[in-house]
Every structure is written in C-alpha cells, then in structure tokens.
Symmetry: C2
C-alpha cells in the first residue's frame, strides 16, 4: 500500500497532460497525498509540473509546493503570477506562507502580499518574515489554540472548537492571561478525562516548557528532544505568547543540520543530492578540492626544501603519504568529536582542559602506532636510527594534528562561526602541511643531518 | 527558566547524600523533570547516582533511567537487584521496558521478568524482545488507543477514557475490526468538533498510514518525515494492529543515525562523546588510524618500487602528498553523496549510470584542477614534460578515486552492508594507495622512463 512512482504512472500523467485531459488528472490526484504528488512533480518535466500546479486547486497545490525541492519550487513560482502565488499563500499556515514569500524577490513579495485578502494573514506573515530564519521566530507558526485563564470551561470549549478548525494539529491548548502572557497549558488528554464542569484556572498545568522567539534553532531542537515535546510555545522577552513550533518542523531542522554537517565533513560546500546536475555537483565539490590542491602544492614546496636529505635517507620521502594521512585522520577524528559535542551542547570545561586531554589521547594513540611503524621500518630498512626518527616524528605529528583538530572548532565556535566547517578538507589540508613540515624537521634533528 | 546544572546544585546534592538527608533530596527532585535529573546523574559520582536511584520512587527513576547515557545505565542496573529492576520496568511503557530488559544478560532477564507482577506487561515485553531492534517491531510500543468499528460512539468514548489513562500521549485513535485488523483512525481534532451522537463507522477515516512490523527503521522514519506523522501504527503481514511508533522515538533514531554516519565518516568506530574517557576514545579512534598506518606502509612500498625514477625526476615524489590528498578528498565526496542519497532513498537508476555520471563529473573537476597544477609545475620547475605528466596523472587519479568512492557504497548497500562504513578512512586509505600507484605508472609512461 506504500506509494511508489512507476514508469506507467508517469507515462499516464504525461499522456493526460498532452491530451489536456484535465478531468482524468484531477481524478488521478484526488485521493493522492500531497507529499506523493510532490515526488511526482520532482520527477516530471518542468512544463508538465507548471501545468499541474496551475490545474489543481490551491488547497492541494499549496501543500504540494511546500514539499518540493527548493530549486524546483523556485522555478515554478517564477512561472506563477502574483495573484496565483497569493492564492497558494492564502491556503498555507503562517510559517509555510512566510517561507514561500521569503523565497521571492522583494518586488514580488510586495506584489503577492497586496493580493492576499486576509489582512490578519498578511500581518502574521510580515511579523514572521522579520525574524532570523535560524531562530525560533523564523520557524514558528502563528496558528495555535489558546484560552484565557479567566474563561469558564464552557466558553473555553466553544472558543477552542472554533480555533481548532484553523489549526492543522492541536497538540496543546495554551493558557494565557489578559495580557496574552503564557501561563500554562491544558493537555488534550486531560480534556478527554476531565469533567466539563471544571474551571480553567483549576485544571491548567502551570508548568510549561517554552522558548524565546530569539532562541537559536539548535536550542529549540535540543529542548524538544530532551523533553520529548511535540510542540513548544514561543514567547517574547515579556513572556507574551507569539506562536508555536511543532515537532515535524524540528524533525526537518535536525535532518537538515545533520546533512549539512555531514556534507561539510565530506568536503561539499553546498547542499547537493546524487541526482543534481554535474554542474551543481561540481560547484559543491570543486572549492574544497582546490583548497586541497593548494595544500598539496604547499607540501611540495616543503619537501623540495628538504631534498638534500634525499641522497642519504630516501626512505624518509616515501613515508610522507603515511605522515600526511595520519595527520589528516587524527585531525578529522578530534574535530568531529568536538563538533558533535558542541552541537549536542555537552562540551564542558575550558579550551585548555580539552587540549590537555587531547594531548594525552593523541600521545597514547601515536605511541601505539609508532611502535608498529618502528618495528616495520627497522625490519624492512635495517636502519634503527631511521626507524627511530620516523616513529618519533609520527608521535609528534599526531599530537600536533590532534591539538589543531581540537582547537580550531572550539575557536570557531567561540567566534560565533559554525565549527562544522573545521572538519573535512580544511583540517586535513592544514594538517597535511603542518604534518609534513614537522616530520622533516624532527627527522632531520634526530638523524643529525 | 531553562534548567542548568550549576556547581552549587551539584554541591548541595552531594552534601545531602553525605548527610543521608533523604528528605531534602526528595524535596529537591520533586518538581524536577526526569530528563534534568538524568543530566545531573550523568555528572555525579557513580555511588551517588546509585544512591539517588534507590532513594527516589520508581515512577520517577524509571523515567530517569531511560534518559541516562547507555553505559551509565548499564552500570547502575548492575547495582540493582532483580526485584528493584522489575519495579522500574513495571512503571515503563512496553517499548522502554523491553529496551531495559534487552540490555541485561539472559540470566538476569529471566530473574527480572519473573518479578514483574503484571502478566500482560511480561507478555508484551517478550513479544517486543523478539523483534530485530532495527525494525519497526523493535521500536514500537504496545500501548495505544484503539476502538472497534462496530462500537457505538458512547461505548467508544467510555473505552477510550480508560485506555487513555494507560497511554502517555494519545495522538490517534485507531479503529480495528473484530479480528483486530487496522481499518482506519479517528482524529482527536474530529472528536473535538464532531457531535457525540455520530456512529464510529460513519466518522472514522479509512485512510491511514502504517508500517509493517518487519520494516526497517529507515523506512519508518522516512515515511513519518514525508507525511509529517506524529505516530504511526504497526501491523503484521495480515494487517493486524500490533503497536505504534511515536515521533519522539523516531527523532532519537534520526539523530542517532546521523551521529553514527558522521562518526563513521570521521573515522570513529564507536559512539563516543567528547567527555568519554581517554581509553574509550582510543578504542574508537585507534582501529581506523591503524588502517591508515597500513595504507601508509603500502604507499611507502609502492614509492620505494619507483625509487629509480628519483635521480631524474625528484619532483615527482614531492607531489605524492598532493596526489594522495586529492584521491582521498574526491573519494570521500563521491561516497558521501551516495551514502546520503541511499539513506534518503533518492538514489535512482543503475550502478552503471551512477558510475558514468561520476566519471564525467570527476573528469571535469580533475581537468580544472589539472590546468592549475600544470601551470604551477611548468612555471616552478620549468619542465613542460614533467608538468604534463603530473597533470595528466592527476586527472586519471581523480577519475579512479571518484569511481571507487561511488562504487564501494553502492556495492556494500547491494550486499546489505551499511554503506556509511565506506566513507572516511576506508575510502581515503584505499584511494591513497591506488592514487599513488596510478600516479607513478602514468607519470613513468608519459615521461618515458
């Protein structure tokens, strides 16, 4: 019963469109979930997509638009008139409406807003557009169910029924005072099991989790995960209830954040998918590769500077890929641990204590690895001084690499820069260069060249 | 109003425990959320943690246990008697209860199960323990609200009230037939806005998303994300309703999966946190580093095999870190795109078409990079043949690295192995070796050595 896109289905759709068989199309999509239709639209030609969006009613297409890939949505919106977009926006909750409007050029924004009939909707969208998109305000919706603490239960239930029709999912009923300040909540479950004669002020739960409208989305998602919340109210600095954030939006935030961190660690500068065009993929991949190229050129220059060593200890040069690889791997490991710890808000203690811990850790790892390398070089090359020089350098390179990997994300985070950019090619490239430089310097010292 | 652990709070707690001031402790924790108490317990000494768990009532401690770090929970459970664990398990929903029991040794499992009073709870736990923990059955809870399609609304509301008291969050009311087969659902919102006189069979929504008990958790989370579901019913092959999965558990699954993939890409073999001990961190970091060491030794052996080239073209050797870095970076990029595409279920088409696309992509990237490298080597070394040899090799190395990075995760996935292990050190190490080997072979050929 799971939905799946078949070639047959796609062929049917395109033949209907070619024949302008609108009735068949409407029947076909009538019972289909908007997320499924969005998947189909991602897969068909752009002209067909625009045809479908213009044909289907805006209650359906507005929901479809929200599920489309951002670049496809952008292109479709460009093909709709301001009036058509306004019709879509009219159907959407305030948060989705603000997202759509926010994607338009300023000119178009005004044109669309002037076409929206519901003035309250316009006011709400304008309010939401003013918030930073990475803050609670940028994600919240204005639609929620709230009751006044001074109401009777009878009035409350009547008001709630009216409000509930506007709200996709109810979750919690928030209780406010006359100044609209958040006082507590009523749970739906309590409503199910409480007699209707009880007074609001007696039944509401005064303890309620909330976030400030300016809170970072990371904070919001950590709080909702920690307390297993399905919705959280958003208040301003005075405690006035402004909106609410639901878990389905937070799930998307968590997934996007995770994808972004993963892509940064893998050296991708943009959000790309396997099915994107070669040009899009190149734009995401080339920048870090170019950085890697510069790093490699740096390593070349360093090695050339040490080339007089070659006549006596050629083997030293043959270990440079090993040194670079170890420096890179250790750097990525230590930075990844810090980046993840920072995201989960469980990196405690000072930067110094982190660095001291990493020093011991890297020294331990380096020592174990150096023993193996020492044994190999001694056995293979038969030179104990060379084996010693390479192994000792390895330990020091690993310690330095670990320290750089630990320090850089902590430093970036302190400066308010996303520490995730420190993982991946950035760390491997800088560690390659530092690693090779340190390696030759230490080896030269030990070998007395 | 956000909860925060202060040194003062921790000192208070430890002084209460030292003085055995149980009353003060109980008062302190009375109003505190179990997730906050769990954070405190993660931070205090192990003996104090056990003291608190034994002191507080099991309604609270069972919820605390579920929020603890897995290794701390394991240690605490070892310090509780079978009877004490049974008391905790008694308080938990079936899914959490099964998780706790599943972490015990088989011997202890039996001892604990025999102490649980509620026989239905025992049966439910046993049922859940039988499912694969990565399947829908391994995550679902047995607690849910269901009504029979043949009931009157009056009976339905009465039954629901009783059931709702057992269920932490209601979400949906599932409608089943006499054979317990899932027929549809009643929404809470509909209940709010529908007259109580309506018959069940008339109001229920026959369209309901569900998953099979053997479905993979990835499928479950993709479905819940796609359709913005907050709970999904789980059925067996005959369509009989077995349990339900709620979004808070799926949020944890998404987060854990993302953390795991990130750690694999960064070369960490276990789930570690910044605050883990040096020994735990070493256990997670050393295995991949050792693989990197072996890769480096492989590169050394290859380079030594080409050492006769050195007298004429020493510069060739100075570019090996560059070649290795580019091969590694390209491999990680292409594998990350595939791994992420597979997780999101949007890698379409055959392996061959993927490989052909990657070949063009890598060739394009490689060509752009090679132009720069060519110009640099020619200008710096003044040898056009050397510049040509290095640049052409770079292009070929990048193409091969991209193909390996694309092929390996697709291959692993086909074999039913988690493709995420292909990213990170695995790809960089193998690409280092292949890259250097190809580089010298091509360069030798072009230079005619």
């Amino acid at each position: 019963m799971s939905f799946e896109i078949t070639t047959e289905l796609l062929e049917n759709i395109s033949s209907y469109i070619e024949a302008s068989n609108d009735k068949a199309i409407i029947v076909l999509f009538e019972e289909m979930h908007h997320a499924d239709i969005a998947e189909i639209i991602d897969d068909i030609s752009f002209d067909d997509a625009v045809y479908l969006i213009k044909l289907l009613d805006s209650e359906k297409t507005s929901a479809i638009l929200m599920e489309l890939d951002e670049d496809i949505r952008e292109k479709i919106l460009q093909n709709l008139s301001a009036k058509e977009i306004a019709e879509e926006v009219d159907e959407l909750d305030s948060d989705d409406a603000a997202d759509i409007i926010g994607e338009l050029s300023e000119e178009r924004q005004e044109a669309v807003m002037s076409q929206i009939i519901d003035e309250e909707h316009v006011r709400e969208i304008e309010e939401l557009l003013a918030y930073d998109e990475n803050s609670a305000g940028g994600l919240m919706a204005k639609e929620l169910v709230k009751v006044n603490e001074n109401w009777t239960v009878l009035k409350c239930v009547r008001e709630m029924r009216a409000q509930a029709e506007e709200v996709t999912r109810v979750h919690s009923i928030y209780v406010v005072d006359d100044q609209d300040k958040l006082m507590g909540r009523l749970s739906l479950k309590d409503l199910l099991i409480t007699s209707t004669k009880t007074a609001i002020s007696e039944v509401y739960i005064p303890k309620v989790d909330f976030v400030n409208v300016h809170d970072d989305l990371d904070e919001v998602s950590n709080k909702m995960r920690k307390y297993d919340l399905e919705a959280i109210p958003v208040v301003d600095d005075e405690g006035v209830l402004l909106g609410r954030i639901t878990i389905d939006d937070i799930v998307d935030v968590i997934k996007e954040e995770a994808d972004k961190d993963y892509q940064l660690a893998a050296g991708l500068t943009q959000d790309v998918e396997a099915d994107d065009s070669i040009l899009q993929l190149t734009k995401a991949r080339l920048p870090w590769l170019f950085l890697g190229l510069l790093g490699g050129v740096g390593a070349f220059i360093i090695m050339e500077g040490f080339q007089d060593v070659f006549s006596k200890y050629a083997a030293l040069f043959f270990f440079t890929p090993l040194i670079a690889a170890m420096a890179g791997n250790v750097g990525v490991q230590s930075s990844a641990i810090i980046v993840q710890g920072l995201a989960n808000d469980d990196v405690k203690g000072s930067i110094n204590s982190r660095l001291i811990k990493e020093m011991f850790l890297a020294a331990l790892n380096g020592f174990v690895l150096a023993i193996f390398l020492f044994a190999f070089v001694w056995a293979y090359e038969g030179k104990i001084d060379l084996a010693l020089a390479i192994s000792v350098s390895l330990v020091i390179v690993i310690i330095v690499a670990g320290l750089i990997g630990t320090f850089v994300p902590l430093f970036l985070n302190k400066r308010g820069i996303d520490p995730a950019i420190a993982t991946g090619p950035f760390i491997t490239t800088s560690n390659d260069i530092f690693g090779i430089l340190i390696y030759f310097m230490i080896a030269k010292m030990i070998l007395g060249i």
